[in-house]
């Protein structure tokens, strides 16, 4: 575990840079992490981040498909918002754990 400061707040991250505690997150922190990933956050981005956080709070599994069915973005737009690895990047910015794929 490592400690890192974003937007003046110290947060605990795991070795891969994902939040240990989703309650340490706020929008300013998200914007700074996004910048490190080369992404400028828009309202659309935040809607996706809130959707992901709500899912995790309910204990549901995150998949790219479920984001595509969220009504916020389709899968193609999700890729455009978070280029490279949409679920990996969006969860990092959303302050939640990296989704694990079941074996």
């Amino acid at each position: 575990m490592v400690e890192k400061t974003f937007a003046g707040t110290i947060v605990n991250l795991n070795d891969e840079g994902y939040f240990e505690d989703m309650n340490q997150w706020n929008k300013e922190i998200a914007a700074e992490i996004a910048k490190e990933e080369g992404i400028e956050l828009t309202d659309k981005h935040f809607q996706v981040l809130e959707f992901l956080r709500a899912k995790v709070e309910k204990g549901e599994t995150l998949t790219i498909r479920s984001v595509g069915k969220s009504g916020i973005v389709d899968i193609k737009e999700f890729y455009q918002l978070f280029p490279g690895g949409p679920l990996k990047k969006s969860t990092k910015i959303a302050g939640i754990k990296k989704p694990t794929s079941c074996v």
Binding site: E60, T61, T63, I64, R65, S66, K69, I75, K76, F78, Y79, P83, G85, T100, S101, C102, V103
Partner: protein, 412 residues
Amino acid sequence: MKRLLILGAGTAGTMMANKMRKALDREDWNITIVDQHKTHYYQPGFLFIPFGIYQKQDVIKSKSDFIPPGVDLIYSAIDKVVSDDNKVFLEGGKVLNYDVLIIATGTHTAPEETPGLKDKLWYKEIFDFYTIDGAVALQKYFKSFEGGNLVMAITELPYKCPVAPIEFVCLADAYFTQKGIRDKVKISFVTPLPGAFTKPIATKMLSELLKEKNIEVIPEFYIESIDNENKKLKSYDGQEIDFDVLTIVPVNMGSDMVERSGMGDDLNFIPTNKQTLQSEKAENIFVIGDASNIPTSKAGSVAHFSGEILYDNILSYIEGRPLLAKFDGHANCYIETGFGKGALIDFNYETEPLPGTFPLPGIGPFGLLKNTKINHYGKVIFRWIYWHILLKGKEMPIEAEMTMAGKKRVKI
């Protein structure tokens, strides 16, 4: 008279019918099992059909052969579960009341979910091997295949038997080598995952194996559609892969019955307590096998291990005791790697596949995460075990709970 109703007479449902009939008094409990199909498929055998190792008749038997006396078997499609009324509606309007319900309706492939998949190349140059028809069609195709670009692709997670696509490319490598045309066949493995497998230590072992066999792994490729005209896979982020022949794992979904009952997630898998196997919808509904959303493999071994837990918990529920048996997510998979060898993995929710020996610590005879001849024989013998021991709900000499004995913690 009370009724235990089981929906689905596949691996999990059949096993539970056998186990529960032995435990529940026939004077007090009726057990009824419903399935729309009459044939029981030995699904692990589908993998071998494309390569002519098994034929269709090697993997089919009658479902009724495995349902014990004292269990009512109804052949019917299921319309829906109405959990508030403890009723199940069958197609055609027949209604079954239940006191306890086990849902074991499994998962099926849904090629229609991917644009261009079930199109003009379907079963001509695009095949699945998760259905008997797909596996048989592919066997026929391979007999006259003279070479080209063979792509094995996974569309979506989760899918049934996560190691099967890896086994498929290994067996294809062996098959074309033995046919003397391996140098004319390019084999690629396309996956939405970051590597050949989900967990790091197994991924390392399997990646090395695929590399040795000259099989290219193309990771993080999430299929949007298939272009039948130009024979290309297209991803959401604009990448393309050419193929001459495509074998694919279509999107896996739970039964439509689950959707009609309003019980499923976005892929129709049923939210289930991962330890007790009780559904989140109602206390008297339990879910076993591929139908549930528990975070472990969709595989027969999981159905088998979790069956022992479910047996305990249903008896506890009936007798008004707390559900103390807890499933740990235990899965155990033989991985056929071609040329008469195989590997083996054993893991659960918490512990990823590790190297070692199985089931006896230090002795084996099977080697975990090792490519050996004896592991291959384990897989060969398993078909007999499946029909004669597992489906009939008899004891196996392997514990339901995973053990660390015989496993080595390693660092990558």
